[in-house]
Symmetry: C2
């Protein structure tokens, strides 16, 4: 499977051909795992949590794959996520598989490769796929778009949490887990749980089948992790019963299709030499107010599609 | 200006040619108005609010244009927004201009026409542009993407508010106004203000220059509206000073350019007879899990771009 994922991550045309054929052949074997997304800023204890949670699951006999979406890996050539040195025990667990984030040039490229790695892991029989992200740019939205349940991991408050949760993230969450709910931080953790619960209560749930809520956990002490898994199982049961899980996955697949289509069309535009030079110039003019966005887009479309006017 | 907006809204190629030329000529005259977005579900008192707020502004000698984004108008041929019968006094005000939502086939089409109408209104010298939306689909995001400040109008609570705010909307808001804060509902309004303020406090502000907060108002009694305008002015001052307003508008224009480009490419795909038939079929197969989204997209791209493989 690791070799399969390497093929999927490769940009080489010959590798891609095999990778896509592999995915097509294995597609009927996919879809069976529990797909969980996990987001948390540095300092919230994500590696400790994943290791402890992962070992809880392997202890139950489940096979767990840990993948990661980290767009910065495209720039630095390495990723802080999926770092096996921070999850040593899990990395050595025969029922676990940990893979660092792929590089991909863009968040879209990284997301696609991660989704495809997920399909391979499912076909290989993994029961739970955890996709982690660190909260850079739009990576949480990407991850939420490929998993069944999006879990937001937070610290009890104070310190870096004073800056607040990045906009748009709380509303992606199907479950919030306040970590480090032990020792001196226990009272702060309970207060944070109350505050986030109140905020969630103001928002309309995505489905009648599930009301997002807030759990307390201490990954370090191994507390509360069983409740997180219970919540994940309850979520899966409820959304399977209501039909929401099938609808969610179908919609995610279709949205992925449209994204690939759009990005493929834009990419082809950039291979057109006339267009490739014009895009950054037009984008700059638009930003400066020198031309309307519609006029700029139509000029480019006219050039590329060979039509003088788009109406 | 009304005739200009009619041209902009028309789908006819000849009208569009004139409209785009008009917009190009007027572009240097745009950008001077205060652009406010206003969202609120039915029952929150939006028409009453807009009328009262609009008249407060015209009373100060300002010229106010009220536009609307209502994607359902594409289907029903009419819109409940921009309904002059619900804002009679403002409709008769010589300093005000009210326009119902354009039809446009899609939310994207409606949004583009509204943005262009806004540019025309600015060139015509309107000081404040209010863009209202009723909360269907992604219309709030569309409106937030075209205005400087996004104002969320809420009812005090109970009744339809028990269902909560649609996910993603609270985080778009630069200002929340709890309406109907009068009489029997005043205590509920104050409680709602406290709750939403607490929720906002958990979220990271979009910019250091502005902290979103919650105001109370009674559009019926004309109370609190001056504070809403003060907040809008304070927001504009702060974001102009920090450079955030220019950055916001430049980014909005660029994003609009990319959206027009993508949608233009997708539209051209649909005029290709081979592709047009294949799109719904592939989308269905993808949703059912019969093919991977990447394979489906590449098949279509190969067909349309004439290349057998995309790597």
């Amino acid at each position: 499977m690791a070799r399969g994922i390497t093929l999927v991550e490769s940009s080489r045309a010959d590798h891609q051909k095999i990778a896509q054929a592999l995915l097509a052949a294995l597609l009927p074997e996919t879809g069976k795992a529990v797909r969980l997304g996990l987001s948390g800023t540095p300092g919230v204890g994500k590696s400790t949590f994943i290791e402890a949670f992962g070992r809880l699951l392997t202890g139950k006999g489940l096979r767990v794959a840990v993948l990661a979406v980290d767009p910065s890996s495209a720039r630095t050539g390495g990723s802080i996520l999926g770092d096996k040195t921070r999850m040593e025990l899990l990395a050595r667990d025969p029922r676990a598989f940990i893979r660092p984030s792929p590089s991909g040039g863009t968040l879209g490229g990284v997301a696609r490769r991660t989704r495809e790695a997920m399909l391979l892991a499912e076909a290989a029989g993994y029961d739970v796929i955890l996709v982690e992200t660190v909260g850079v740019g739009q990576s949480e939205t990407s991850v939420a778009d490929m998993v069944d349940m999006f879990v937001l991991l937070l610290a009890p408050g104070g310190g870096d949490e004073l800056q607040g949760i990045k906009r748009g993230i709380m509303e992606l969450a199907d479950l919030i887990v306040v970590n480090k709910a032990d020792g001196d931080l226990a009272p702060a953790a309970r207060r944070a749980q109350t505050e986030y619960q109140a905020a969630l209560h103001l928002m309309r749930p995505k489905t009648a089948a599930w009301t997002p809520h807030v759990l307390l956990a201490s990954a370090l002490k191994g507390e509360g992790l069983d409740k997180v898994w219970e919540a994940a199982e309850a979520y899966r049961t409820a959304l399977t019963k209501s039909g929401d899980l099938d609808r969610l996955r179908a919609n995610q697949a279709k949205a992925w299709f449209w994204t690939e289509l759009r990005e493929g069309l834009i990419a082809s535009l950039k291979t057109d030499p006339k267009a490739a030079a014009l895009v950054p110039q037009l984008e700059r003019e638009v930003g400066e107010g020198g031309t309307t966005p519609t006029a700029a887009a139509r000029r480019l479309l006219g050039l590329v599609l060979g039509r003088a006017e788009e109406a």
